[in-house]
Amino acid sequence: MPEFAVELRDVSKRFPAPSGEIVNAVRNVSLQIRDGEFFSMLGPSGCGKTTSLRMIAGFELPTEGDIFIHDKPMGQTAPYQRPVNTVFQNYALFPHMTIGENVGFGLEMKGVDKAQRLTRVRQALEMVRLPGYEARRPRQMSGGQQQRVALARALVNHPEVLLLDEPLGALDLKLRKEMQLELKRLQREVGITFIYVTHDQEEALTMSDRIAVMSGGRVLQVGPAFEIYERPNCRFVADFIGESNFLEGTVREVQQRTATVELAGGLLAYAESDLALTNGQAVTVTVRPEKIGLRPYEGAQNVYPGRVEDIVYIGTDTHYTVLLAGDQRLRVREQNEDPYSRPLASPGDAVTIYFDRAAARVLLD
């Protein structure tokens, strides 16, 4: 059994734009997607997610590099000869066919006989909770239902890999949440490798085993949700996933895994880092708002005096903007544990903020 369901080796894709210049849609991307994994590609619009997915499906050919599906090099293989199926963003159901014909299309093209086809179509529709909808037409179904049909149409073929391009993008929030759980359940049930493209970080974090964060055609970081969130390897990832504070400074000392960074206003920040840092190097220290407290606690290495500039109450939490020495601002998030939701400080108050060495990370950019 090959180790990877899909492998991209140094894949680039360039498009000639109508204006004559060249668009670097995907740049030197290498990815290894494991068998049975729920793998997400996450990034802002235009970062090359769709292009990457389309290259795996065979709708686009890489300008450079190779794509392997279960160790087989895809080369120029046509889409209809690849062992993958796609769920398109706007479903792309065949409007002139019934739901049954839509779902059975792949099996028909593969030459599966009619009796078996009907059985499998029925099972697939049951799996996506649309039993008995065979005779309907796509236009008679709601967006959510069409989405399920698109899923059934792909899964009925038992592909080695299922590609999904922002499949929930057109659904409203409530339905989207429902479908997220449903997709996750389906993936566990069928055990097929899912490659899921989304620009919604929450969606990626909830569903994925691993996430590749993309920007400007490059993959910046690959890892499970907690790793991406807790140990971002660059400023873009830290900023794109969740909320982050960034403090610029200079490395003063490195001891074992702790870096001492001098910030503006002469403040010293202690941060954990595995990077090979040298004294005097310019770096950024990042720390998540929820990992900073206004309440004192034992063992906090980073303790700074500051002044509250702004308070935003959002129900579960309250956000404070705290101004530190050297005109640096930090966002602090405190949970509203107090049943009366009394804020810990008011605008203008002098406060002290606390955070752990382990909560702060050093970034090179």
């Binding site: 109508p18 499906a57 065979g58 709708f59 046509a78 889409p79 209809y80 000869q81 993958v84 199926n85 796609t86 398109f88 963003q89 706007n90 792309a92 159901l93 065949f94 409007p95 002139h96 299309f105 792949g106 093209m109 593969k110 149409r153 792909a154 073929n157």
Partner: protein, 294 residues
């Protein structure tokens, strides 16, 4: 919210309809005329008789077909039957070929970028705006020169020589129909979602099967209305046919024109009535298809 319509609008609408349809109504009525000269309407033929009246009778009072006398004599007119057969042969053949070519052209223009695209688009639509008579002269000149050259260089003589005939008419009809078909099919393709073709290919259908199972069924209403347009254009084309036809390739419009120069009888009106009926059916089908596709 309903708005009161001005009576002038209603009046204008009625006038437009009268203007459009009065000639047609008169034409149809005169096809039942009992007077052979057909200058004035002398009332319909009311009587039935066992035999056809002498073809020289000036006022027909009775016929085996009753009021449909002129339709029956029409059926016995060999020249006319021949012209009708030619017309339909030409219309069907040229429609089939021009619809195929026009659809392919529309698909190519829709989905591919190529260096001479703008040029090919414009050049495709120019024949629509060029006066038909110019096209006719052009085609005539082309075929004339081509046939002279081929006949000379291949040493063809007598009946073996290439000459104007049904073949050249079909070719010229294809030539003027293709732009119209392309235009109609392209309009249909505007809303075509390319993703469904990718979906088909994703589901193991190769290019060929994708076209027949997905693309064509979806654009079929556009292709059919393009085809019907080509068919009606071919049916009633006079000018270009006039320039490209040859012995034995007389079409209905050419034949009718020939008759007009001699004498007009209600038979001609009967022929036109049938013709109009055919066109109405074609238009009706087109409308139905358009509505179904919408």
């Amino acid at each position: 919210m309903t708005k009161r319509r001005s009576p002038w609008v209603t009046l204008a609408a009625i006038l437009v309809y009268v203007f459009l349809y009065a000639p047609i109504v008169v034409l149809v009525i005169f096809s039942f005329n009992s007077s052979r000269t057909n200058v004035t309407f002398a009332g319909p033929i009311t009587g039935f008789s066992a035999e056809f009246p002498d073809p020289r009778t000036s006022v027909v009072t009775a016929s085996p077909c009753g009021p449909f006398h002129w339709f029956c004599t029409l059926a016995g007119n060999r020249e006319l039957i021949n012209a009708a057969r030619n017309t339909l042969t030409i219309a069907f053949t040229s429609t089939l070929i021009s619809t195929t070519i026009g659809t392919m052209a529309a698909l190519a223009l829709q989905r591919y970028q190529f260096p001479v695209k703008t040029f090919s688009e414009v050049s495709l639509y120019i024949p629509i705006v060029i006066p038909e008579i110019v096209m006719g002269i052009g085609i005539l000149t082309l075929f004339g020169a081509l046939f002279r050259f081929l006949n000379a260089s291949l040493g063809l003589t007598g009946d073996g020589r290439l000459a104007m005939g049904i073949g050249t008419v079909i070719l010229s009809h294809i030539a003027f129909s293709v732009p119209f078909v392309t235009l109609v099919v392209r309009a249909r393709l505007q809303g075509f979602d390319k993703a469904v073709e990718e979906a088909a290919m994703d589901l193991y259908a190769n290019e060929w099967r994708t076209f027949w199972r997905v693309t064509l069924p979806i654009i079929a209403p556009g292709v059919l209305s393009g085809g019907l347009l080509a068919f009606t254009l071919s049916l009633d084309d006079f000018v270009i046919t006039f320039f490209t036809t040859g012995p034995g390739a007389t079409t209905l419009p050419i034949y009718v024109y020939g008759l007009l120069r001699r004498i007009t009888t209600p038979e001609l009106n009967a022929l036109s009535t049938l013709w109009i009926a055919l066109v109405f059916v074609a238009v009706f089908i087109t409308q139905r298809l358009e509505r179904r596709a919408a």
